[in-house]
C-alpha cells in the first residue's frame, strides 16, 4: 500500500481504471472478424485422430484399386463337390459322408462351392427326379418341385462377380442327363444343349 501511495497520482489513476479497460476491450464495440474466413474454434474432440496416422494415398490417384466385391472381401471358404457317373447320369456329392448310390464311379472333384452364405448368394442343392431316377443339381428350389435330396451342398453367387466363373448346367438330349460344370468346354460336347448358369463361383 505504501508503494502505491508513493506513485505519482497519474499512474495511480491509470491502475484504478484497469477494470474499466477490461470491460471496454471485451465489449462488442471493438471486436471484429480479423479474417474473411471463419476461424472460430469449436469444442469438437479430435483426440481420436490425433494419435492416428492417416494412410497416404498413391501419387497417381487414377491407379487406386477397385473397391473389392463382397466375395473378394469376405473370402468365404470353399468345399469340393465330387462327381460320379453310372454310365447315364451324374451324381454330385460332398467329399465326405455323402457317398453316391451303388453303380456310380467316382470321377474326382467337379467344382467347389462356398461353405456359408452371404447376401447375394443362392443355395445349391442336389435334387432327385423319381420318374427318371436321375440326380441333378439346382439352385434354390428343385425344378418342378422335385424332391430335394440330401443337404444343401453349398452356396454360389446369384449374379456375376469380379473374377467369378459361372456354374454351368447343360442337358444331354440323348441320355436326359444334366451335367453341371465350371468348364465351358464340357457343355460344348456333341448332344449337349441348353447351357445356363445356375450361379457364380
Amino acid at each position: 500500500m505504501a508503494m502505491i501511495r508513493r506513485m505519482p497520482r497519474g499512474i495511480r489513476v491509470l491502475f484504478a481504471m484497469i477494470p474499466f479497460y477490461c470491460l471496454i476491450f471485451s465489449s462488442e464495440a471493438l471486436s471484429f472478424e480479423s479474417r474473411p474466413w471463419p476461424t472460430r474454434p469449436t469444442d469438437t474432440d479430435l483426440s481420436a485422430i490425433e494419435n492416428w496416422s492417416e494412410p497416404l494415398l498413391p501419387q497417381d490417384l487414377e491407379s487406386l484399386p477397385v473397391l473389392p466385391s463382397p466375395r473378394a472381401a469376405a473370402k468365404p471358404p470353399q468345399k469340393p463337390i465330387m462327381k460320379s457317373f453310372n454310365g447315364t447320369y451324374h451324381f454330385y456329392g460332398l467329399a465326405a459322408g455323402d457317398n453316391p448310390p451303388a453303380g456310380f464311379n467316382n470321377q474326382g472333384v467337379a467344382f467347389s462351392l462356398f461353405e456359408f452364405s452371404l447376401p447375394g448368394m443362392v443355395s445349391i442343392l442336389r435334387c432327385f427326379d423319381p420318374l427318371r431316377s436321375r440326380h441333378f443339381i439346382a439352385a434354390q428350389k428343385c425344378d418342378g418341385n422335385l424332391a430335394i435330396e440330401g443337404k444343401v451342398l453349398g452356396f454360389a453367387w446369384l449374379d456375376r462377380q469380379e473374377d467369378s466363373k459361372p456354374l454351368l448346367q447343360c442337358y444331354d438330349q440323348n441320355s436326359d442327363n444334366l451335367l453341371t460344370t465350371v468348364a465351358e468346354s464340357d457343355c460344348e460336347a456333341p448332344g449337349l444343349r441348353g447351357t445356363q448358369a445356375i450361379g457364380y463361383l
Binding site: 479474417r35 474473411p36 474454434p41 490417384l61 472381401a73
Partner: protein, 563 residues
Amino acid sequence: MTSRKYFAHYCLVFVFLAVLVNGGCSRGKFRSALFAGSSAEKMENVAGAEKQSSKDPLVGDANAGPESCLIQEPTPKGRKKTNIEIRYSLEDLTGYSLEEAAMLLTPNPGSETFPSAAGPVPWDLEGLDKQIAFAEYVAIRLQRDDAFAKRYGLDPDRFSDSDVRPFVTRIALMFLGAAASEDLIESLFGEYDLEAPARKESFYRGVRASVFRLILDPHFLYEVETAEGRDAFWTARRLALVIWRSVPDRELLLKAASGAFESQDGMVSEIRRMIASPKSKRAFQSFVREWLAVDTLSNSQRSLEKYANFSSELLKEMETDYVSRVMETLYKQKGKASDLLKSEMTNAPQNLQGILGGERQSMTHVAEPSSLRKGILAHPALATLTSVGDEPNAVKRATYTLKRFLCIDLPPPPGGANVFKALDLGPSPTTRERFDVHSTNPSCASCHSVLDGVGLAMEQYDALGYFRSKYDSGREIDPSGSLAAYGKTISFSGVDELQTQLHSQLRDSIDRCLTRHIVEHSFRSTSSDVSKCEVDAIHDRASKGGIEDMLIQALLTPGFWAR
C-alpha cells in the same frame, strides 16, 4: 474537476490501447475497430488492412484488391454435393476407386453443364433412391474389408473392446469433416454388439451400419451452411471441397483445430500444402473436363461408311489427349489459357496421328498446309464435340469457342431461327451461303455477327477433325472470317490464323476468361453472380503465377467466403 481528469485519462488510454491492440496504425483497421459497420464493410476494411501488412508476395500491395469489390453479407445456404465430390470423398476415405460404384448415382443435372457447381444441385426422390443404393453398395463391400478397418486403426483379427470406440469416432470425424456430433458417434457405436457370440461378425455388421449411415448423413451429402455453423472446421471443409473436391484430411482438421487459419500466412501455407497434393491435380482435371465438356465426347456417333476408323477407342484417345494437353500447359507448365493456342500437338497417340497427319486424303481432303497442327482449337476432339453426326456444325463450334475461351455466352436462338431452310439457297449450299441469311435478319444478326466468323474459320476440319479443303459437294471451303470482341476486331483465314490473331490481340481477354471460369467454379456461382471487379482483381494479383496462384487469390477473397 477530478471527474474531468478521470475522463481525460479514460479517453487517452482508450485511444492508445485501441491502437496497440489492433496491431498498428493501419487506417482501415483502426477505422474498422472504432466504426464497425456492416459485415461487408468490415470485411472490406479489414482485408484491405491485411493486404498492407502481409508478407506474402502473392498478396502484394495492389491498390485495387478484390476486397474493394462490393460483396454481399454471408447468407446461410446449403448445397448438395455433386456426384464427383461424393465419389472423390469416398475414394480418399477408403483408398479405393469408386468409378464403377458411382454409376449407381443419378447423373446430377448440375454436373451436366458447365459450370457444374453453379447453384444448388436438386434433390429428388429418384436421386435419394439411388443414393441409398450407392451407400448400401459401398457399405456391403467395405464391411468385411480388413484393409478398410486397418486404415482406421483396427485389426479385425485381434482387437480389444476398447479399440472400437476410437475406430468409430475416427471414421465419423473423417467422413463428416469433424461435423460428427457426440450423439451420432454414440448411435454408431451402438451398432457394434461386442458381446455377441460371433464377435468378429458382429464387428463387420457394425462397420456396414456405420458406413451406410455416414454416407447418407447430411454433412456428407451436403455442403451444409448455417449461420452458427461457420467455424474453423467449416472453413476446412470448404477449402477441401474447392481445392480437392473432397473431404478434409486429418492434417487439415488438426490445423483448423490448432488455429492455423487465424493468420493469413497460416492459411496460405495450408492452401499451398493442399495444392501440392495429387488430390488437387485430380480436382483440376475434373474442372478441365467440365470446362471443355469432354464427357459428351463419348456420345458421338459417326457412320462407318464415311469414317471407317471411327471407334470408341478413338474417342477415348481423343478425350485423353485433349485433357492431358490442357493439363500439361495449365497445370504442369503453369501456363495461361492463351498458351493453349500455341501448344504443339506432338506425341499424339496412335489413332490420332492418322487424323493429325491428314492420312484421309481424297477429293475433299488434302494434306494440311502446316506440317504440324498447333493450338487447342485445332484439336480433333473439339471438331468432334461440335459436330452432329457426320456433319460439322459451325454454330456449335463458334459458341463452344467463344463461351469457353472468351467468356462470350450468347443466348439461345429465337424460335424459328432456321429461316434459311425456308429460303431457296440452291443445291448443296455452303455454310457461308447459309450464314449470309443472318445479315438480312436483324434478330439473327445480333448474335451471328459474333459467331459466324469463328465458325467459318473452323470449317476446314470435318466431323472427326480431319483437314479438308472442300465440302462433300465438291465446293471449295472459304475459311475467312472476322471477330469483333472486347473492343478489337480481328480478321483471319482458317483456324491457324484465328489462333494467331486471338493470341496477339485478345490474349488478355482469354486469360481473364479462364480466371472467370475458375473463380465461378470455386465460388460455386453463376457468371451473373461474380462481378468483373472480383475477377479482374484476382486475375491481376495472380497474373504472374499459374493456376495455383489464381486459386490462392480466389480463396483469400472475402467474396469467396461470403458465398
